[in-house]
Every structure is written in C-alpha cells, then in structure tokens.
Amino acid sequence: MSLLEIDDLTVTYRTAGGPVPAVRGLSLDLPAGQKLGVAGESGCGKSTVALALLRLLPTTATVSGRILFEGEDVLSMTWGRLRAVRWAGASIIFQGAMHSLNAVHRIGAQIAEPILLHESVTQAEADLRVTELLTQVGLPPDRARAYPHELSGGQRQRVMIAMALACNPRLIVADEPTTALDVMVQAQILRLIEELVRDHDISLMIISHDLAVLADTCDRLAVMYAGRVVEQGPARQVFEAASHPYSAALSGAFPRIGDPASRLQPRGLAGDPPDPAELPTGCSFHPRCPSALDICSHVDPELWPAGESEAACVLVLPDQGASLAEEAIR
C-alpha cells in the first residue's frame, strides 16, 4: 500500500474575481520509503498541494478529490484525528525558515513544541529530545537557547529540519527547503535531509522549481504545469530525456557543467506561466510550447505512457494523436 495517494485532487480558490483553479485533477502516488520530487514554476500549484496534504489551506479554498495518507482520507478526517496526523504522521519543512520561526521564542522551545503537543512527556524529556535532534542536524546542543534572529539562514533551516523530525513522522514534505539559501549551504541542507530521511526510513516529498536539485535527490519526479502533472517518472529519465516539451524546457533552463553548448546558448522558456483564472484552451502549455501542433489548442491530453515515464502531450500519443486530432476536428 502506498503511504500517500493523491487521487484527482482539485483545489479552487474563491476570489473577488471569481473562482481560480489552482490544482486541477492531480494524482500522485508515494510508496513508503520513496523520495518524490514535485517541480514546476511559481504559481503552478505545487505549494497548494503541500498545504492540502494536511488540510492547511485557507477557508477560501474548495478542495475535492481524495488524499489517502496510510489509507485514511485526510479530507474527511475529524478535527481531532487531523491534529494527531499533523506532524506526528506527516510534517512539513517550510520555505523561508526565518518567517516560519516565532521570533519571540527560543529555538529549543520551538522544536519541543510538537513533542509536547503530541506526546505525554515532561519538559525535561522533551529537552533531552531537543538536544538529540539538534545534534542530528549538526547544530551544537547549546544553540537551543538561541533566538531565531541569532542564527544564520542555514542554521535556521537545520532547526526547521530538526522540528520536522521531532515526532518521528512517516512522511516529510519539504516545500522549497533551500530557496533562500546560497548554493553551498543548499547542497549541505539537501544532503542532510537525504541522510536523515534514509536513516529514519521516512518518505520524502520535495517541492522545488529546481529540476536539477530534484533529479539529484529524488527517486521519482513529477512535473507540474498549471495545476496538473504533465510528466512523471523516474528522476533521471524525466531530467535527462524528458518527453513533455515543458519538462524539457525546465531541465534545459539549467546550464550543465561540461557542456559548453548549454552555457553559450542557455535555453529558457519564453512567456509567463498562465493565469490560473484564464487558462488557454486545449493543452494549457500550447501558447509557450516550442513544438506545439495545430490540434494542441483543441485537445488536452491525459497522462500517457512514454517509455518508463508518463507524459501529458500529444507528441507521446500513438500516431502523434491522430485519432484525437480527428475527434477535435469533428
């Protein structure tokens, strides 16, 4: 059984300008012990998915579909059960550690917070666990007495990781865990997350815009565009031999070391991500797609097997989607 199974998840925000679909029929699957990367541009709905997992979305969001965590539907859980699953079952490493820490509490107290909430332990036992956790993430235990502003960006992110581990969760969702960090610290933090997840046998879901980082860390990759998965498969294949033009553009956006061609001619992607309130007809990527066909503005393909992975593009359909094209014309 999968640890996490998202089935046809739809999230729509109610705004003054009408409903805005942020996630449109997303399905993902995360077997226990695996590492899944979710990639995509800003605004493609990847953070919304992370928040939906623990039902943390604001009340303006309408959520439908199913999110099965260890076989239980998160969306229909009672409030008490939900609070128990939050952090003890699945925890989150938030982006922007500075703002995710409360400036008026010492970090030791903040790491102990979930322990005291979920387990009937004394403060002394919790303090002991905090010491242990800080050592695990490579911080000296006496930093427990520091306030968030006294730490560097990398140290704060380590505190967030210690906090995520505090209640021995089965799943950790890392939402852009390295965004605000410089490249060296980024690598350290990713290695640390990888190691801890492996040692504690925790499943991991990393959300990032950086396909290269994800390909390096994860077993499987899912590429999101405009609230949908457009390609998913083994990390290496998605990164190096993408089937969907969007994944190809995303992986091409990072220059590769040792490949002068990519440096001299960095491939980017023209245009901006689509406005979720006014999505283009057909395949939502077709206005920016370098290899768009005429039928792309009419048909919106489902995920289709393409080698070891799956992609939602007419180019991977058998006969280049000839049958779909006929249907569209009819």
């Binding site: 939050r86 925890s91 938030f94 008026v104 917070e113 979930p114 909430l117």
Partner: protein, 302 residues
C-alpha cells in the same frame, strides 16, 4: 545529567520556573529606567497601604481639620492646605489609595477584556469576528458617562461601580488595536507552522499570537492607567463615587471648583497632577522594560 535523573519531575519543573523568574529579573534589572519605575510604583503602593498609620481621620475631616484655610506651604504643611484646612500632602497620600486601586483594577479589567476579545476576533474570523467586532463598535459609540450613570443606578454608588464603569467602557479601543495586530501576526508563516504542528486554536492564540501582541497591550496599559485615574475623578465629580472618599481626581476637582487656578493656589492644584503623571510615567517605564525582556530583538539593541 546525573542530578536530573535523581530529581523528581515536579521538582525539575519548580527549578525551571525559578530559573525563568530569576532570568526575567536579571534582564529587567539591566534596564535602569524600568528599575526606577518599579521602585516608584512599589513605593507608591507601600505608602498608600501605610497611609492610615500616619494620617488620622480628624486631619482629613472637612469640619474638624486643624490647619489654617488655604495656607501656602510651610514647615507644618509642606504642601499647604485646602479650603477646609486639610494638609494637601495628607490628601495626596490618602488619595493615592483610591486612585491607585481604581487605576490598576479598571486598567487591568479593560486591557484583559480588550485583549481577549481582540485576539479571539482576529483569530477566528468569520461570524465570530463579525459578532465580536459589531459588539465592540456598539460599546465604542456608547457615551461613557451615560453608561456609567446607568450602571450606578443598577449597582449602587461606590468605588466598585466606578471600576466596573471604566473597565467596561475603555476596552473597545484595546480590542480594535489588538485585533489589528492579531491579523498581522496571523498572516505570518509561523502561525501556519504551528497549525501544521497540530496545534489547536488555544495553542496558536496563547503561544504564538499573545506574545507577539504583548508590546501593544503593554503600551496600551501604560496609557490607560493615567486615563483611568482621571476618569475616576470625572465620575467622582459627577457624584457617582463615594463623596467621602478622597482621591487625586477629587482633590483636583475640588481645587478647580474653588478657583485655585485663577487665585494662584498652585500648591493645591499642582501636586495631584504631578502624582498622576508620576504613576503614569512609572508605568510607562516598567512597560518599556518588560517589553524589552519579552521581545528578544529589542533586547539586542540595548
């Protein structure tokens, strides 16, 4: 570590509490203005408590007071006397009892109400917020004096009525300020984190919102103490208090009625004002110092 295992958890908890107290005190002591304010406040309270030991009832009597009428300061009467021959120093001393009681209790009551209502409406949003805020607006537009007069009719005259009247009319401004700050704090990511941790409403409000709105609450408290002491004088003046009780407000009011300002009787009208200002100032200094103790970022700048 070995000692920690020997000690019982309860004893550990007490040791920790004691450490917190000593830590707060150590940090508070570093702020000299705060210490001065605290000394002033404690001094004022002790003097107020000790007043009956030094001042006899006769000295405060309107008919049997021994001094000359409206005399300027002298050796016997360091702050002069009022129109009944009572020593102004004794009036201030005795008056501090009522003024400090009303000032502290009414302020505490209104700040407490305002903070609870402000945080609740900022946290829960939706219909809870609508109901609480409309209620706040309604109290805000109620004329304080009219409400106080009606309260006296219902509850009877006395110092308790004055405290309640001030307490239930002064909170809406606090509630609005605290709500605004709560909304700002609630939109910060650490609130999302604390919800993701599995924290309930009470946890989020008490652990994360309250410490972050505390500076505003403290600032409001220091301002309110002076305001309530003056409000007490207004209400006493209208005859809603106990006329036999002496307070700083009533002394000020009597001096004004007797034309102390135009007659140049400064020793009668200035001291009660200075007393009010001193207490308000002491409160401000203590409030600022507490803010520095509880806000680690301000502490760094010291």
């Amino acid at each position: 570590m070995t000692t920690a295992e020997v000690l019982s958890p309860r004893r550990m908890a007490w040791i920790r509490r004691w450490r917190t107290v000593t830590r707060v005190w150590r940090e508070f002591r570093r702020n000299r203005a705060g210490v001065v304010g605290l000394v002033l406040l404690v001094g004022a309270c002790l003097l107020a408590l000790a007043a009956p030991l030094f001042i006899s009832e006769m000295e405060l009597s309107v008919t049997r007071a021994p001094g000359p009428f409206v005399a300027s300061p002298s050796w016997d009467y360091p702050l002069g006397t009022d129109k009944f021959g009572r020593s102004v120093l004794d009036l201030i001393w005795q008056g501090s009892r009522v003024s400090l009681t009303v000032g502290f209790l009414a302020t505490f009551m209104s700040v407490f109400l305002g903070t609870v209502i402000g945080i609740a409406s900022g946290h829960y949003r939706g219909w809870v917020e609508s109901v609480l805020m409309r209620f706040t607006d309604w109290v805000l537009v109620l004329p304080t004096l009219v409400l106080a007069v009606s309260l006296v009719v219902v509850l009877g005259r006395g110092i308790g009525t004055i405290i309640i009247a001030i307490g239930v009319t002064a909170w809406p401004v606090t509630a609005r300020l605290v709500r605004a700050q709560t909304l700002a704090v609630e939109s910060r990511p650490f609130i999302e984190r604390s919800r993701a941790l599995g924290g309930g409403h009470w946890h989020v409000m008490s652990r994360h919102v309250l410490p972050n709105v505390m500076p505003i609450v403290l600032a409001r408290t220091t301002l309110l103490v002076a305001a309530t002491i003056i409000a007490e004088s207004t209400l006493s003046f209208l005859g809603l208090g106990d006329p036999s009780l002496i307070s700083w407000g009533s002394t000020l009011q009597e001096a004004r009625d007797a034309g102390a300002t135009s007659a140049g009787l400064w020793w009668w009208i200035v001291p009660p004002g200075i007393a009010i200002a001193l207490v308000a100032l002491a409160f401000t200094m203590v409030g600022r110092a507490l803010e520095q103790v509880y806000n680690p970022r301000l502490r760094e700048r010291l």
